[in-house]
């Protein structure tokens, strides 16, 4: 175990996978300068053949990954901000998500897209989204979002080794956060949620950047005698329905925390599944703590007002625990 920064864990995963398999290549906008630090230094180790700075051409970049991956390379595309998923959507939704079925399974597409998401840093409305569900809905791509450095490393390594496209969402502004990362080979399976705290009164389901506030809320609720079961979703597509349902069944009361805008969010998908498959165990309505269906304003207080936070989780929890 070593205390490692989030961004370093991502960098370690990339370096280890590029060392492991020379077919792994990395390209994207400013992967050399690396404003987040996650790809920093890789060009010095692997050279400009395998680590390639690209023009700002998201629509071509996402489509390119399909051509390169179908030719036998493991492609990692750094898309910088998650809002650029929208810019590059044709390559994602019409090409990489479709090519395998359309070709009758002739090809595998080992593609990983890294994108930094989330609000709270006055990056305004075009650099702050959490577009989990936009890509969950296309089908044909896996969607993961680690909440801690260990899973950042483990999920990214699994994503790069996967023979299917994976979109790896990195929580914006959390690069400096530290956590224990196991030494040596460490893989987090895609498609598995983690129960990170056990409890009997209330189930809190968080994901990615909302896990920290979700765990804080669990601590505060414990002070008032409410013991929370806490689940980290980790993979939004495919969802680990089994773990999510069992965690919901254990307490019968559920709050789901997701920074996506509420309408058709990851939280709404999870709540639909729980309502469908765990209905008889539920003792109260499923609550969602999400971002309202509003674009993020630049002014910090107006932005902060919209984002999920610990108090909003506590308010939702209180509503259904009292019930």
């Amino acid at each position: 175990m070593a205390r490692t920064r989030f961004i370093q864990a991502i960098n370690d995963a990339l370096r280890e996978e590029m060392e492991r398999d020379e077919k792994v290549i990395l390209f994207g906008e400013d992967v050399e300068a690396s404003i987040f630090g996650d790809t920093r230094g890789l060009i010095d180790i692997f050279g400009s053949r395998r680590v390639r700075n690209t023009p700002i051409s998201e629509n071509t970049l996402t489509g390119m990954t399909v051509g390169t991956a179908a030719s036998g390379y493991r492609v990692v595309l750094h898309l910088m901000f998650a809002n650029f998923v929208y810019t590059g959507m044709d390559g994602i939704a019409n090409q990489m998500a479709r090519a395998r079925l359309m070709s009758g399974g002739q090809i595998d597409l080992p593609i990983t897209i890294i994108a930094s998401y989330g609000g709270g840093r006055a990056n305004a409305a075009q650099h702050s989204d959490t577009p989990f569900s936009a890509v969950m809905n296309v089908g044909g791509v896996h969607v993961v979002a680690p909440s801690n450095p260990a899973d950042a490393k483990g999920l990214l390594k699994s994503a790069i080794r996967s023979n299917d496209p994976v979109i790896f969402f990195e929580p914006g502004g959390r690069g400096g956060e530290q956590g224990e990362v196991p030494d040596g080979e460490y893989l987090t399976p895609i498609g598995k949620a983690a129960v990170v705290r056990e409890g009997t009164d209330l189930t809190l389901i968080g994901m990615g950047s909302t896990m920290r506030m979700t765990l804080e809320a669990a601590d505060k609720l414990a002070e008032s005698g409410i013991e929370c079961e806490v689940v980290d979703v980790r993979t939004m597509a495919p969802l680990d329905e089994d773990t999510l349902c069992k965690a919901a069944e254990r307490t019968g009361r559920v709050v789901i925390v997701d920074e996506s805008r509420d309408r058709c969010s990851a939280a709404s998908q999870i709540s639909a599944i729980l309502a469908d498959k765990a209905f008889e165990h539920l003792k109260a309505p499923i609550k969602r703590v999400t971002t309202p269906n509003v674009s993020f304003p630049y002014a910090p207080a107006s932005e902060k007002y919209l984002l999920p936070n610990t108090d909003k989780i506590l308010a939702a929890a209180t509503e259904i625990v009292r019930n």
Binding site: G63, V66, R100, S103, N163
Partner: protein, 331 residues
């Protein structure tokens, strides 16, 4: 253009054979669609066969070809099996894509046919990525993208040209300019000369008569020589003419004609690439009627066999879709 090579007689006969196989395939598909035999629509390239044949004559199986929605001819010319093409378009599990793709998505990756595409222009990014793989492989292979004049108005053309020029990608752009962007004459939606768009990137350009298969072949000799010698991308604009409608159901949905029947008839009569090549071969006394008849007969029988194979196919199980979505494996 520096290469002065022209196709020799046997190469001309191969080009003729390829064009006739494509023509028979597409005439069959037009009839099949009219008879309700194809589950979905088809976009036919009748009149444009010289581009597919002339381009693919210079490619090996290691070279990759990205195509578009009007891609049956490209598929056949690049070595795709007509039997698997017909089974695919009939929606059968014996199709090249197991009946999962249909007319707009025919692909045979084992032969470097990296996909027709239903999104106009989408072959451009994909071929850019494929050419990057060629560059990394460094084995002398190259990638060709065939796209229409309509696709030239997608922003990804400029993005791709920039990538290819910047990284000296072994990528050939072939704009198959058939005069129509769906239901709009090209001049009503496209400004300037399309191949001029490559020039500011320093990409060499050749404009050819896309109905003259020998001219297309010759331009390809130049382009492949340029690309395979490591000089980076090249661009061919092949001017041709789409004889059939944008898609075969067009007459049911488009009420205002955007071209005259007379124009189509003139092109059919005077500019048919198959007739043009046959005429030249005869004028030059390079073939006799018997040889031409044998080529025609062979092409016809290839497609008859393909149709029979497709008709004998079995529809895939209705719940099969999900099994194709993910590999579910890892390295």
């Amino acid at each position: 253009m520096t290469a002065n090579l022209s196709p020799d007689v046997s190469q001309c006969l191969e080009l003729l054979q390829t064009m006739q196989v494509i023509r028979y395939a597409e005439e069959q598909l037009a009839a099949d669609f009219a008879a309700g035999k194809t589950p979905g629509g088809v976009h036919l390239s009748i009149g444009q066969e010289a581009v597919a044949a002339g381009v693919c004559a210079h490619l090996s199986e290691n070279d990759q070809l990205a195509s578009n929605h009007r891609g049956h001819g490209h598929f056949i010319a690049k070595g795709g099996d007509p039997k698997q093409l017909f089974a695919e378009i009939y929606g059968m599990s014996e199709g090249i894509c197991g009946g999962m793709g249909g007319s707009m998505h025919v692909a045979d990756y084992s032969k470097g046919i990296i996909g027709a595409n239903g999104i106009v222009g989408a072959g451009l990014p994909i071929s850019t990525g494929a050419a990057l793989a060629d560059l990394l492989d460094d084995d002398g292979s190259m990638t060709v993208v065939i796209f229409g004049d309509g696709a030239s108005n997608q922003g990804v053309l400029q993005e791709s040209l920039n990538f290819a020029a910047l990284w000296k990608l072994p990528l050939l752009y072939v704009c198959e300019h058939n005069g129509f962007c769906q239901f709009s004459p090209a001049e009503t939606v496209t400004a300037g000369t399309i191949s001029d768009r490559a020039k500011p990137f320093g990409i060499p350009v050749e404009v050819v008569d896309g109905n003259d298969v020998r001219a297309v072949w010759q331009a390809m000799a130049w382009a492949t020589d340029h690309i395979r010698s490591g000089k980076g991308p090249a661009f061919i604009e092949a001017k041709t003419y789409r004889i059939n409608n944008h898609f075969e159901r067009e007459h049911l949905v488009v009420q205002t004609p955007y071209r005259t029947e007379e124009e189509i008839e003139t092109m059919r009569r005077e500019r048919d690439p198959i007739k043009l090549l046959q005429k030249w071969l005869k004028e030059e006394n390079l073939v006799d009627d018997e040889e031409l008849g044998a080529i025609d007969e062979k092409a016809s029988s290839i497609i008859k066999e393909a149709v029979a194979f497709g008709e004998a196919g079995t529809p895939p199980p209705e719940d099969i879709g999900e099994s194709y979505m993910f590999a579910g494996t890892h390295s």
